[in-house]
């Protein structure tokens, strides 16, 4: 069941270069402040920094002590302070407030390194505080962090919130620059497709940068690019993940391709941090699998491992020596990985059994299909009343709202009235749909909770079916055939389409769009779909590209999710890459600190 790598795969570009570039620029910037210095690092930069440099690298360049930016007074005794931060007004203000040097007459040198870029608003704060001159500033253009052979991340936790919630376009140019960096290192691209407002702006920004800069012609390593805004498809990130990597992320939180497994997984008293990427042979084989397939695979592996170990019985000294020098190391590593993933599986099972996972999935599937809406509403209501996981409740409410344009307000009773603010934000994002005056009745009814009452229930479902007509998701789902017909058996062991990532119940909208556009080489024939998605689609060709168009690189497609994507979507795209050798091999990018969009949606609220 493990998908063997296809032999005719084009080779993926070497993203290691990106790490080296970032690392060398950082070193260069540190050297701009010669001599011993203390370094303050923004908390959310720690993990990304870990991926490209380490303490000894920093020490070599005279970094003395390391601190985390914690909005507390600065206690450093060093004469030189260096701050590696995000361009946030709050942090810049803290740097001023936190050090009492001016008052005490102490002289120190300060340097602020903003990453990935500096904003004028931050400069304005420094100017207002009268410390320009005392403080020098710089930019560390660390745009892209390769996390795996086929994943690069922009690591911008605030991208989603700033862009989609606040409507601030400050990261558009950053996205354009990231694209430009990839273009100059791995391009030229032959074609760019995209959908969404931000995608369009990012494209424009990139195009301008290309025009301004000189280009080095080179052998293209990436052929095509697909840009997609997260708000084109909010449904997919709201669905529970059932692919192994997605579940691991749900439960243990994968951060920069690294996860911390607690004592319950390691069966010892300590936690360990593990890298989760294609280097982990066991993980690599199960990461894209539906969870139900994972046990079988692990059991098989365990048996094979046992057999390999058993081989050593009856060996003579010489054979034993070869065994130890050649095989043992590999076996031991595999053994370690296997017991970790088995432990992780157990832990996932335990957590999921606790929370009615089966019923949760069923509710989600009903909402996606548009059947049994009344039962689903009732389930969500009880879920809320029982104060089960708030995030799950909110996720379900949003899903209900997007797929059915409905809403419920038990939520505030169970999780606090403060969440009025959450709802205001979700409405702003379009995740909760504002009720029309005529529909207020529905809200009131669900509020009073008379759903069990048949009469009201009937009225409710009438109201919903009339609403469903307005719901774009329903129409999109029909047009793109996102919900497969339910009369056929879906064998998850032999996935036949991308729907397997959601147990065969739903093909992710985002990935379906990508597939369709690439197959048609544009948006022709998808006019109705783009109308439902509010337009902003484009497909442009770079001229002179066709001469080289036949090489393998043209099959390598860069997909850039502006605002983040989920592991399920990554799995779906990997599946597509395996299935469509003629044209596809996918490379995914996300632009958030974590791909846990739904969680981010909700936690970004206050």
């Amino acid at each position: 069941m493990a998908h063997s790598a296809r032999t005719d795969c084009p080779e993926l570009p070497d993203f290691f270069l990106l790490k080296r570039l970032a690392r060398d620029q950082l070193i260069y910037l540190l050297e701009q402040l010669p001599g011993k210095k203390d370094l303050f690092i923004e908390a959310d930069l720690m993990s990304p920094l870990d991926r490209i440099a380490n303490v000894s690298t920093l020490k070599q360049h005279e970094v003395d002590k390391l601190y985390k930016v914690e909005y507390k007074p600065i206690v450093s005794t060093s004469d030189q302070l260096c701050f590696l931060i995000r361009p946030r007004i709050q942090t810049v203000k803290w740097i001023y407030v936190a050090n009492a040097d001016k008052a005490t007459g102490r002289f120190r040198r300060y340097k602020i390194i903003f990453t990935p870029q500096k904003f004028y608003a931050c400069d304005a704060v420094l100017e207002e505080q009268g410390i320009i001159g005392d403080v020098t500033t710089d930019e560390w253009s660390f745009y892209l962090l390769p996390l795996d052979d086929d994943i690069i991340s922009l690591e911008l936790p605030e991208f989603f919130r700033d862009n989609f919630l606040a409507g601030d376009q400050r990261w558009v140019r950053t996205a354009g620059s990231a694209l430009h960096l990839l273009h100059s290192l791995y391009g030229p691209f032959s074609k760019v497709y995209g959908i969404g407002r931000c995608s369009k702006m990012a494209y424009e920004s990139w195009r301008e940068q290309v025009e301004e800069g000189e280009q080095k012609a080179r052998q293209a390593e990436i052929g095509k690019v697909f840009l997609i805004d997260r708000d084109v498809d909010f449904v997919t990130p709201l669905c529970s993940q059932v692919v192994y990597e997605g579940l691991v992320d749900d439960i243990f939180k994968i951060k920069c391709a690294c996860v911390e497994f607690g004592p319950d997984v390691t069966s010892s008293d300590k936690s360990i941090k593990v890298m989760l990427n294609s280097q982990d042979r066991v993980f690599n084989e199960i990461r894209n699998e539906h969870f139900s397939n994972v046990f079988g695979f692990l059991s098989q592996k365990a048996r094979n491992l046992q057999t390999s170990y058993d081989k050593r019985r009856g060996m003579d000294i010489k054979q034993m020596k070869t065994f130890v020098s050649e095989e043992l190391k590999g076996l031991k590593q595999e053994h370690r990985l296997l017991s970790l993933h088995i432990g992780a599986c157990e832990s996932i099972m335990k957590k999921k059994t606790k929370q009615d996972f089966q019923e949760l999935l069923k509710t989600e599937h009903s909402l996606l299909e548009g059947f049994e809406i009344r039962e689903s509403i009732s389930f969500i209501e009880e879920h809320i009343n029982r104060q089960v996981s708030m995030i799950e409740s909110l996720r379900l409410l949003c899903l209900l709202s997007i797929t059915e344009n409905g809403k419920s307000s038990f939520f505030l009773c169970s999780y606090g009235v403060d969440h009025l603010l959450t709802f205001a934000n979700l409405r702003q994002l379009g995740l909760l749909v504002e009720q029309q005056p005529g529909e207020t009745l529905t809200v009131m009814e669900s509020k009073v909770g008379k759903l069990v009452n048949d009469r009201t229930g009937g009225k409710l479902s009438d109201a919903f079916s009339s609403l469903a007509k307005k719901s774009n998701f329903r129409a999109l789902s029909r047009k793109l055939n996102l919900v497969p017909k339910s009369d056929e058996e879906y064998d998850l062991r032999v996935p036949r389409d991308m729907a397997y990532i959601f147990s065969g119940a739903y093909v992710p909208l985002s990935c379906k769009l990508i597939e369709q556009v690439l197959e048609r080489d544009g948006w022709t024939g998808l006019e109705e779909v783009t109308r439902l998605l509010n337009g902003h689609e484009f497909a442009v060709t770079g001229y002179g590209a066709d001469s080289k168009a036949k090489n393998d690189a043209q099959r390598i497609i860069l997909v850039m999710f502006l605002g983040g994507c989920t592991f399920s979507e990554i799995s779906a795209l990997r599946f597509l890459g395996r299935e469509k050798p003629s044209m596809l091999f996918l490379l995914t990018i996300w632009l958030m600190e974590t791909p846990r969009v739904s969680v981010t949606l909700i936690s970004s609220i206050f």
Partner: protein
């Protein structure tokens, strides 16, 4: 919950994915456990020399992550220059494009400065081996500051500047221009001009939010007539008030804010709730129950349902007249039957007060007979009780009330209510299942005897 049973079964029968359960009884899971045992059994061999170097270190421990051999030549060689890159066309954007010629100033030059150092340049720099050398052309400040904004003095020029910034889609530049306009225009004029410029307006609101300029932000929202947003923004301030009395007073002052009708009900509830919590919090905690189950946290600022749970837990029997009585809470906040029921059930089950649990379900019909009724499906009831570790004797009463036979058997098996399983199979006249179930029972147990009796009963007409 009156689930449509037919629909539900239908769902499972028609379900297109293989029944895959997260139940621990599952075969797959036991296989997994087996594998775990197998793997663990070989552990000693591996632990002989505990080499952990395979674990990639990800902490700031100073260990080398892998030596990075940096070859300048190699990279530089692959970067020979040739002809110009094919250019991509501009997409027709629907934003109103401003003709640059309208302005007498070189706006394009202004923004060109913003476009960062060119990448090719920066990569060349990065490949340069002499890292310690100061590099004069590297230093690229935001050149926006280099070009003085002070040149833009007439309102028309300022607005042109703003519109140009918006059409360039760079939020950083938009905000920069807005900061300048904020400094050089009166609030009235600025607010008026922003009204028709949505993109710029959103940037301005975000800027004010980030720099915590609450006062100006409120003024702006008021000027725009966005009263509900204004109300929410003011309401949000309560999050920063730690003292509960001050917070209550603040919430009270919020009641007059122009919320939407729906929100204003919620805010009123919020105020009433906190007021109530403050009263409940100071009730002397002398009763035995507080000693037996000491509180883990204060009730202040908890959600309504949590408060109800607390009262069901500690103040269950109090008369409806007291503020801490669950019934009073239910009345005051007009909670639904289901909300009340679920919460009371969970709280009483947690205390193992089974008679209270039982009483929750009891209703009398007009003939005076008692029967068990629940606003929640009995399946869910069993689930709630199980999670509060109810013993089998208690569980089986409720499992027995599950209407659907299949579901009842599943639940009964899960919770080891053997009698119910056996009786249900008997009612279904399913001899085969009964035989199968006997095999799972302990030898010589009462259950086994009961099954034997049934199987030997010649009066039952088995269907198989």
């Amino acid at each position: 919950m009156m689930k449509n049973k037919a629909d539900e079964e239908d769902y499972w029968n028609s379900s297109k994915f293989k029944a895959f359960t997260f139940d621990d009884e599952d075969d797959e899971f036991s296989r997994l456990k087996e594998s775990k045992r197998a793997v663990n059994s070989i552990r000693p061999l591996v632990d002989e020399d505990d080499d952990e170097e395979e674990v990639e270190k990800v902490s700031w421990s100073g260990e080398p992550v892998g030596s990075i051999s940096w070859s300048v030549n190699e990279t530089a060689a692959s970067n020979q220059r040739t002809d110009r890159e094919p250019a991509f066309p501009k997409i027709n954007t629907d934003t109103t494009s401003i003709s640059k010629s309208h302005s007498g100033y070189s706006l394009s030059a202004l923004f060109k400065g913003e476009t960062h150092r060119s990448l090719s340049d920066s990569s060349v720099r990065l490949y340069a081996p002499e890292l310690r050398k100061p590099k004069s052309e590297y230093k690229v400040t935001t050149r926006l500051t280099a070009v003085s904004l002070e040149k833009f003095r007439s309102l028309q020029d300022k607005l042109l500047l703003l519109d140009y910034a918006v059409s360039a889609h760079d939020g950083n530049v938009i905000t920069a221009v807005l900061i300048y306009l904020k400094r050089t225009l009166s609030k009235e004029v600025l607010f008026r001009e922003l009204t028709d410029r949505q993109t710029a307006l959103r940037h301005f609101i975000h800027y004010l939010t980030e720099s915590k300029d609450q006062r100006l932000l409120l003024e702006l929202l008021r000027a725009l007539g966005r009263t509900e947003d204004m109300a929410l923004l003011q309401y949000k301030e309560h999050l920063g008030i730690a003292d509960e009395n001050k917070r209550r007073d603040f919430l009270k002052s919020c009641l007059s804010l122009p919320f939407s009708p729906e929100d204003s009900v919620h805010v009123e509830d919020h105020y009433t709730l906190l007021e109530r919590q403050i009263i409940i919090e100071v009730i002397p905690r002398k009763q035995e129950i507080f000693q037996k189950f000491p509180r883990k946290a204060s009730i202040l600022n908890m959600p309504l349902i949590t408060t109800l749970y607390y009262c069901c837990f500690y103040h269950y029997t109090e008369s409806e007249g007291t503020y801490s009585s669950p019934l009073n809470i239910r009345q005051t906040f007009k909670l639904s039957e289901k909300q009340f029921f679920v919460t009371a059930l969970a709280a009483r089950a947690k205390l193992k007060a089974w008679p209270d649990v039982d009483a929750l379900f009891t209703s009398r019909n007009w003939l005076g007979f008692t029967r068990k009724k629940s606003p929640l499906s009995f399946q869910r009831v069993v689930d709630v009780l199980h999670k509060n570790s109810a013993p089998t004797q208690v569980l089986q009463d409720y499992v027995a009330l599950v209407d659907d036979a299949e579901l009842r058997i599943t639940l009964a098996q899960k919770h080891k209510c053997h009698d119910i399983v056996i009786n249900t199979y008997r009612d279904l006249k399913d001899r085969q299942q009964l035989l199968g179930y006997r095999a799972k029972m302990a030898r010589g147990s009462a259950e086994e005897r009961k099954i034997n009796e049934l199987l030997n009963n010649s009066q039952i007409r088995w269907k198989n």
